[in-house]
């Protein structure tokens, strides 16, 4: 036997493994960080959540203008949301402005109840008059896509569906009457509230109903429908304990007077200010 060759141990080719891992790491860095896949020619369903919100708002604004529910539904369908009306309501809750929330809610309401008369309030046009363009983020166009998605060939929506003619919100002229007035003692409420809920003659909650609250040295007007998670007919107002308030729904509704924050007691007999719930129904 040759003793010289016996002493040399054969080393595994680690350099090959090192090279492979190095190449793999470089490949991942390039494809994930430096040159990730960029998509172009995409359908609206693939938009990021922020742009989906913008697209949804755009649909709601167009709907407010043309009152074409068929077209709005077809457009919303492109976003492939499971619950179209629910998404609109959720977006209205995270909207930056009340007017956006209102526009979205109107569309949600129209989808949920297509036979109802669309409600157009003066409030929904307010934002347009006061809008000042905010600095917008610059979106650089991606001209060299690495990969192009091939969505299903879909014709852009041009729906020949009968249009609903816009009618004013009729709830404003209804003589709403107080049907329930109760004290709410709930320790989880952070402040004392006047909670108002407005219903139509069929017992369904009505959004966009004007609620006017007056007190000794002031008045506030607001609308129902901004808390759809509670009820479309719900609105609330924060009371200052000790002050007296009057509440009215619509233009000619019943005026409920002498409302003030009630005193409540918790489990350990400590006093705190409670809230008031008022239910108004259309006759």
């Amino acid at each position: 036997m040759n003793s010289r060759f016996q002493e040399e141990k054969r080393q595994p080719p680690y350099y090959l493994l090192t090279g492979f891992l190095l190449g793999l790491a470089l490949g991942f860095v390039m494809t994930m960080v430096i040159l990730p896949v960029q998509y172009t020619n995409v359908p609206p369903e693939t938009l990021n959540s922020k742009d989906k919100d913008r697209y949804r708002l755009m649909i709601a604004l167009a709907f407010r203008s043309n009152q074409d529910l068929g077209r709005a539904s077809a457009r919303l369908g492109l976003l492939r949301d499971d619950d179209i009306a629910g998404q609109l309501i959720q977006q209205s809750r995270r909207s930056e402005t009340k007017s956006d929330a209102q526009v979205l809610l109107n569309l949600a309401q129209a989808i949920q109840n297509p036979l109802a008369q669309p409600a157009i309030t003066a409030q929904t046009t307010d934002f347009i008059e006061t809008f000042t363009p905010a600095p917008t983020e610059t979106i650089l166009p991606t001209e060299t896509p690495s990969e192009t998605s091939t969505p299903q060939p879909t014709q852009p929506v041009s729906t020949p569906i009968a249009q609903m003619s816009p009618t004013p919100n009729l709830s404003a002229g209804l003589p709403f009457q107080l049907t329930e007035n109760k004290t709410i003692c709930n320790t989880s409420y952070r402040e004392s509230l006047i909670q108002v809920e407005v219903f139509n003659a069929e017992g369904e909650p009505i959004a966009n109903s004007r609620v006017t609250v007056t007190w000794s040295d002031g008045q506030d007007t607001f609308f129902t429908g901004f808390y759809p998670e509670i009820s479309l007919g719900y609105a609330d107002f924060s009371m200052t304990p000790g002050s007296l308030y009057s509440v009215k729904v619509g233009e000619i509704g019943e005026m409920v007077t002498d409302l003030s924050a009630p005193e409540c007691k918790d489990d350990s007999d400590v006093n705190y200010w409670g809230s008031i719930y008022l239910r108004f129904d259309a006759p």
Binding site: Y15, L16, L17, T18, G19, F20, L22, G23, L24, A25, L26, G27, F28, M30, T31, M32, P36, V37, Q38, Y39, T40, N41, V42, P43, P44, T46, L47, N48, D51, R54, Y55, M58, I59, L61, A62, R64, S65, N66, R75, L78, T125, I128, F131, P133, A134, T136, T138, I139, P141, T142, S146, E147, S149, P151, T154, Q155, P156, V157, S158, P160
Partner: protein, 115 residues
Amino acid sequence: MRFFWFFLTILFGLLIGFYFGWVRTPTSIGTTQLSNLRSDYLADYVLMAAESYEQHQNLAYTTSQLVLLGDQHPLRYIQKAIIIAEKLDFSRKDLEKLAMLAQVYQIPETATEAP
């Protein structure tokens, strides 16, 4: 010879990395922007802007909606939308809305060009 095999394995690793990064598990497609919309959807987006403009008549607001489509002048997107809308047989009413919006953008330009 060692270096040859070393670089060859790097190349091999790179190719596998590219395959997994670009083909097998690319970035999620749910992160695209309005500027990436296909031309027919883009035309419909511009049509929505035109429809809402018809009601509110606020050019600044409409501009803020159209600049989301890219860094070109909003008029360019309206012109593109008109071309696509004609190709796809949009209704005459829709074309008129787009044309009207394009006209609104052209008015200030011609006014400023005049001496």
